[in-house]
Amino acid sequence: MSKTIFTLKERPHVPLETEVLSPDVIASLKHAEVEALPVFLGKRQYRLADFFAIEGDGSEELEIHGDVGRVKWIGRAMTRGRITIHGDAGMHLGAHMKGGTIEVQGNASDWIGAEMKGGLIRVAGSAGGQVGAAYRGSTSGMSGGTILVGGSAGLELGMRMRRGTIVVQGVVRDFAGLQMKGGTIVLLSGAEVRTGAWMVRGTIVSFTPLRLLPTFSYACTCNPIFLRLYARHLQTLGVSFPSAPEAGFYRRYTGDGAVPGKGEILIWHPQQ
């Protein structure tokens, strides 16, 4: 299968906006057309080739090399194909995306997968704030798809998310699942404070004890079947967590009573 390879020539001195780095835009273009695509360095418009050495014609598979930590909007609203970033990725990576896959081998900045509807984003390193979140004022954050973060993640993870899955291996900062309306957040190393604040519905699973808001109430202990199915599904994506009935159980809390909401937070207790 053909690939289009982009190598950043030099880290831009201010952010570069490249929503054209998406398989939907690039797939059907010839090499020269790809080179001529418009990008924005602050207020000035340039050609994509001014910043990237480009190999190959356009394709559904984009491989990006170099430190694109200051390159914004890669994979915006993409519906298909694959983007692999060999380095760090900038803000709004895969925002509004509907399908396809984005892989980041380094860290990612803020707003990855914001308001996404489908597809998969996998970040090997850490992610910034507002992963899968709603942009300011929007009623819903991500409404489908999967975001997997290998390291830690920042503030307001999954803010107002409606559907979809976010899994974070490392510790997540404050307000994970803020005003969540649905979907699932899996926290393998827990989170700082205010997890699930003002959540209405949805599920947050944590494998590390959490300090909960006083407005969550303890409901029961359980080991729901859906989580075991979920674990099996996530395993196909390379994520594993304990789930067998003999391995332990979850303490289930509901809230946020302040809203009032019917969300659930499940905290894993391994069997001694």
Partner: protein
């Protein structure tokens, strides 16, 4: 110096923006305030009509306003991502001009509110 008295003056020191202040001025400085609080009084008395500073500085050296305007325009025009920041202790009329300028130079505009 002739004494001027201004009634219903507006104090812009804090967000209360009291507009019932009486100011007595001798042309060079405000000598007396009525109704202002301690913060307002020191604010009014802290500014004068004297020429205490150069009109403009370029790289730390006194310069004419016209030269400084050109220098500022060059910097802002050349920049790819200029920032216009502050907007607190200036008038609304200035703020309107600042937005127009930010638009012209393709910049970011932001105020104390974002802090």
């Amino acid at each position: 110096m002739e004494l001027t008295i201004v009634k219903n003056a507006t104090c812009t020191f804090c967000g209360c923006v009291c507009d019932d202040i009486e100011l007595h001025a001798d042309g060079e400085r405000i000598t007396h305030t009525k109704a202002a609080c301690v913060l307002g009084t020191s604010w009014f008395k802290n500014h004068t009509a004297e020429r205490l500073y150069p009109d403009a500085l370029i790289d730390g050296q006194p310069a004419s306003v016209e030269d400084a305007i050109q220098a500022a325009a060059d910097h802002l025009y050349q920049a790819d991502m200029p920032l216009v920041y502050g907007l607190s202790n200036v008038t609304c009329e200035t703020q309107r001009e600042a937005v127009a300028l930010a638009e012209l130079i393709g910049g970011v505009i932001d105020s104390h509110t974002s802090l």
